[in-house]
Symmetry: C2
DNA sequence: GAAATTTGCTAAAACGCTTGAACAGCATGG
DNA sequence: CCATGCTGTTCAAGCGTTTTAGCAAATTTC
C-alpha cells in the first residue's frame, strides 16, 4: 500500500541490475532486493556487527549482491545517523607559503587516515573572514575536530567559532595558558642539539647568529644554545651572539661581524642564514668546515642537504606536529591544557662540521 | 497523534534554549519552534528561495531565532537530500615530498572555495592500495569530483575506481589520449621562455644542461630551447646540449664539460642544477652573470630568489594547475578529452642574466 | 510434547533537511 | 457574490543509512 517499490516477483523488471550509474548510485535497498533480504540485514552484514545473528548463507548472498552491483555506502547518510563524520578539519594560515606547512598537512593526513579519518583542509592565508567561513563549513560538515595551524611557531588568538568544535593548536599556542590544547616544536632542545653538534666537533668558541624578529623560536633557540654551553662548562659570552634578519641576505651580511669574533664555529638561527653565510665565508676565502664549522636550523631539505658542503642542522618536526595534533585531538595522546606539548627537533648531521678526532 | 514533539504551549518546557551544546547541536526544528513556524518555512528563509513567499515579519523572526540559538545547518543532511556534496577530492601522490605539491593544493583549495566547494585531500605517496581507499572514501562522501595529481609532470595510469567519479588529471596525463581530461604545464613554452631570457641578454652561444631522466619535461624543455633558437635564427648545435642528473650535484658535475663548450650562457633543466652550477663556476673563478649567464627552470623560491646572484628562471605554474583543475572539473573552463590543457610557465627574470645594452 | 531458549531476520523509527503539493485566507475581477 | 488569483504558510514524503524491538521458526530442555 505505502510502498510499491518491492516488486518482489511480480514480473516486469528484467533484472538488469547494471552497475552504478554516476547519477543514480546503487543504494542499500537495491542490494537488499537483489539478495532477497531486508535493508537491515544488509546493513548488519556490511558493518560486521558482533552480536548480529546472520546465517552464513545469507551473509554470502548479501556479499555477492554488493559485489555484483558495485555498491558503495553513502557516507552522508551514515553520518546523519551517527551524528559525527569521519572528518578532521585542518585550518592553516599558509598552506604553501612555505614548504614547511605541507609537512604539517602530510603528517596530519597520514595519522588521520590511520584512524579512519579524512582530512578536510582550508587555507586562510591569515584572512579572518575566510577563517571564520572555513571553520563554519567544518562545523556544518560535523567534523570530529579541528587542527588550527600556523606556518611558523607563534602565539595566536583563538577564533571564537573554533571553540564550538573540539580543537588542537598546531605549531602555535594561546597566550592565555590553560585555555587550549597545543603542540609545538621544542625550540630550546633544538637549539641545544644544534650547539651540541658543534661541541662534539671539538669547538669551544661558538657564535650564534640569532634572528632580529621576535618569536618563540628566537628565545628558545638562544636558550638552547646557552643550555648546551652551560652543560659543556663553557661560560656564555654575549659578545658571541649576533643578530640579523633571518634570510640569506641576513646571513651573508653578518659575515664581517662574525669574523671579528674569532670563532671556529657558528650556529645559525636557520638554514637560509647559513646559506647566506656560506657565500660570505667563501668570499673571505674561508672553507667549511675546516676554517669554520656551521650548523643551521630547520632542515630545509632543498637547501641544507644540497649546499656544498651539506649543512648540519636540526629538523623542525612539522610532520610530527601534524601527526601529534591528530592524536591529541582523538584523545590518543595526552593533551594537557596547561601548556603546549613539545615535539623534539632532531639533529641532522652533515658535512658542515668536521668530525672531531682525538682531544 | 503521530508526533508529540510539538509541545506548542502546553507548559512543561521552560524555554531554556541554551546555545548549541557540542553534542546536541541545534536543529532546524528547534529554530522553527522558537520562531513559531514550521521547519519548511525556516528552510525557505535560510536558503533564500527565490519563489518562496515569506512575510517580512516572519523572515525576521526566523532570522532572530537562528541567531539566538546559534543554529548551524547540518551539511550532511543537506547533502543527503541533494545527492551531491560540496566537496572536491584531491588525490596526490606526494603532498609534501616536494615543496611544489603544496601549491597545487593551494591553488585547488582557493579556486574550490571560490565556488563554494571544500577540498578533501588524500596523500597516497604512490601507494596503490591507499589510493584505492582514498578514492573510495571520496566516492562515499559523494564528492563533486576528483583531482588526481602527481608531484612531477608525467604520464599516469588511471585507477579503475577513479572512473566512477568525475575527474581531472592535474600535472599528469593519460598515455592513451582521449580518455581523460588533464591539465599540465607547458614545458615547451617554458623552455622557450627560459632560452629567450638569454637571447634577450644578447647571448648567441647558449648551452642547455638537460636532465638524464626521461620525462615530458625533458623533451618539452629541450623542444622549447630549439624553438627559441630557431626563432632567433640560431642553428641548433647538439654539442651544446649536455645532460646530467637533475640536482645540485649534477649541475656542479657538469661544470667542466660546460666550460669546454665555450659558451656565454647556460640554461639549466632546473634550479637545483643551476644552484650546483653556481658552485662549479665559482670554483673556476667565473662570475655570474658577467662571465656566464645562467637561467634555471622551476622557480623554486627558496633557491632561485636567494642565490647570489638571484637566479632568472621560469615558474612551474603549480598554483594555476590546481586552480585550472578545479575549474575544468566544474565545467567552468573548457576541458577537451583529446589532449591535456597546457598552462603557461611564466619567466621570472632576476640578476643571473645581465641586461643587454646596445647591439 | 509443552515450555523455554536460540537463531535468523524484518519492521519501522530516527537522523536533519528540502521541496512540491496543498491549503486557508484574502483581495480582485466580472 | 461567485469564480479566480494571490499570499503566506504547512504537510508530508523522501534522501540512504542504522538500530532496537519484536516476531516466527527451529532447537533445546525437562
Amino acid at each position: 500500500m505505502i510502498s510499491q517499490e518491492k516488486n518482489s516477483g511480480n514480473a516486469a523488471s528484467p533484472i538488469v541490475h547494471a552497475k552504478a550509474d554516476r547519477a543514480n548510485p546503487v543504494t542499500l535497498r537495491e542490494v537488499a532486493e537483489l539478495a532477497g533480504v531486508s535493508t537491515a540485514t544488509v546493513s548488519l552484514v556490511i558493518n560486521k556487527k558482533k552480536n548480529a545473528r546472520i546465517a552464513d548463507e545469507t551473509r554470502q548472498r548479501v556479499t555477492e549482491a554488493i559485489a555484483q552491483l558495485g555498491y558503495r555506502p553513502n557516507a552522508m547518510a551514515k553520518t546523519l545517523v551517527s551524528g559525527t563524520s569521519k572528518f578532521i578539519g585542518l585550518v592553516a594560515d599558509g598552506v604553501a607559503t612555505t614548504p614547511f606547512a605541507g609537512q604539517i598537512i602530510h603528517g596530519a593526513q597520514d595519522e588521520a587516515w590511520k584512524h579512519g579519518y579524512a582530512l578536510l583542509i582550508a587555507n586562510t592565508e591569515g584572512n579572518q573572514d575566510l577563517e571564520k567561513d572555513a571553520i563554519a563549513m567544518m562545523l556544518e560538515y560535523k567534523v570530529r575536530g579541528i587542527l588550527y595551524s600556523t606556518w611558523f611557531h607563534r602565539p595566536t588568538d583563538i577564533p571564537e567559532t573554533l571553540r564550538e568544535a573540539d580543537f588542537v593548536l598546531v605549531n602555535c599556542f594561546s597566550p592565555e595558558a590553560g585555555t587550549a590544547r597545543a603542540v609545538v616544536p621544542d625550540e630550546a632542545q633544538g637549539g641545544q642539539s644544534a650547539t651540541e653538534i658543534l661541541l662534539r666537533g671539538g669547538h669551544r668558541r661558538i657564535a650564534f647568529i640569532n634572528t632580529t624578529t621576535p618569536a618563540p623560536a628566537r628565545d628558545g633557540r638562544l636558550q638552547g644554545y646557552r643550555n648546551a654551553l652551560e652543560a659543556a662548562g663553557i661560560p656564555f659570552d654575549a659578545d658571541l651572539v649576533l643578530e640579523a634578519y633571518p634570510d640569506q641576505e641576513g646571513g651573508f651580511g653578518a659575515t664581517d661581524e662574525l669574523l671579528k669574533r674569532n670563532v671556529s664555529a657558528v650556529y645559525c638561527y636557520n638554514d637560509r642564514m647559513a646559506m647566506g653565510l656560506y657565500d660570505g665565508l667563501r668570499e673571505n676565502g674561508l672553507s667549511i668546515p675546516d676554517d669554520i664549522a656551521v650548523v643551521g636550523f630547520d632542515n630545509q631539505e632543498v637547501i641544507a642537504a644540497h649546499l656544498r658542503p651539506p649543512l648540519s642542522t636540526v629538523s623542525l618536526p612539522h610532520y610530527e606536529l601534524g601527526a601529534a595534533g591528530v592524536r591529541m585531538l582523538l584523545g590518543l595522546d595526552a593533551a594537557p591544557l596547561e601548556s603546549a606539548v613539545k615535539i623534539a627537533c632532531p639533529a641532522v648531521e652533515r658535512a658542515s662540521v668536521a668530525v672531531h678526532t682525538a682531544a
